[in-house]
């Protein structure tokens, strides 16, 4: 069965700081990888996804993630965070056309 680990539960940063949120998964086969964001009071939104090809994926709002197959990782990065990036970030994994499995989420607070 697939599982997803997000090691940072709470992250507090100042504006303009760089961000990296860890995500590791366990699954032996080919997977699709996602980062979803949930802004306060809003629904889950897709930030970026990886299916195949270039392991460095660029998403919306300046976010990117790198798939490192040997490490079973898909860390999310942003060079310079803004106050508006305050949200909860969920890493998710699925094998092709199977259910999406979410990590526990990382709550990011960006102070102005």
């Amino acid at each position: 069965a697939q599982s997803v680990s997000q090691h940072n539960h709470h992250v507090i940063l100042s504006e303009a700081a760089s961000l990296e949120l860890g995500c590791n998964y366990s699954y032996g086969g080919t997977v699709n990888l996602f980062w979803y964001v949930q802004y306060p009071g809003q629904h889950l939104q897709l930030l970026l996804k990886y299916f195949s090809g270039d392991p460095l994926v660029k998403g919306i709002k300046g976010f990117e993630a790198e798939f490192i197959k040997s490490k079973f990782s898909f860390n999310l990065r942003k060079p310079s965070v803004q106050w508006s990036d305050t949200a909860e970030y969920f890493c998710a994994v699925n094998a092709h056309f199977q259910k999406l499995v979410f990590g526990t989420g990382t709550r990011l607070l960006v102070s102005p």
């Binding site: 979803y36 299916f51 092709h96 979410f102």
Partner: protein, 120 residues
């Protein structure tokens, strides 16, 4: 941009009452899902639905839960006799058919805004 819509946005109910949460998936999508998120916890899979039947369900999805696609557009989640621990945000999601290489957005779940259920 197509959306998944959910109603109600918030429902408060008494323990033991039946609740129906409604979802209108994106019109050309064929796979439907319910997830839930208990406050402060992770998003958990409940059930997936395809071709008018349940394709997978989690341990959470016991006999108190049921899903239905009554009219070809709505996708409902029913909880027969609610318990306090059913209090959560319930998310509906849908996706299209096909492989990602062929169909843009295939295998990507689009989520609704959620229905917050409070059981007293």
């Amino acid at each position: 941009e197509p959306e998944v819509t959910q109603t109600p946005s918030h429902q408060v109910t008494q323990m033991g009452q039946e609740v129906i949460l409604r979802c209108v998936p994106i019109s050309n999508h064929l796979y439907f899902y319910w997830y839930r998120q208990i406050l402060g916890q992770k998003v958990e899979f409940l059930v997936s639905f395809y071709n008018n039947e349940i394709s997978e369900k989690s341990e959470i999805f016991d006999d108190q839960f049921s899903v239905e696609r009554p009219d070809g557009s709505n996708f409902t989640l029913k909880i027969r006799s609610t318990k306090l621990e059913d209090s959560a945000m319930y998310f509906c999601a849908s996706r299209g058919e096909g492989t990602p290489a062929i169909v843009a957005g295939a295998n990507v779940l689009t989520f609704g805004a959620g229905s917050r259920l409070t059981v007293l």
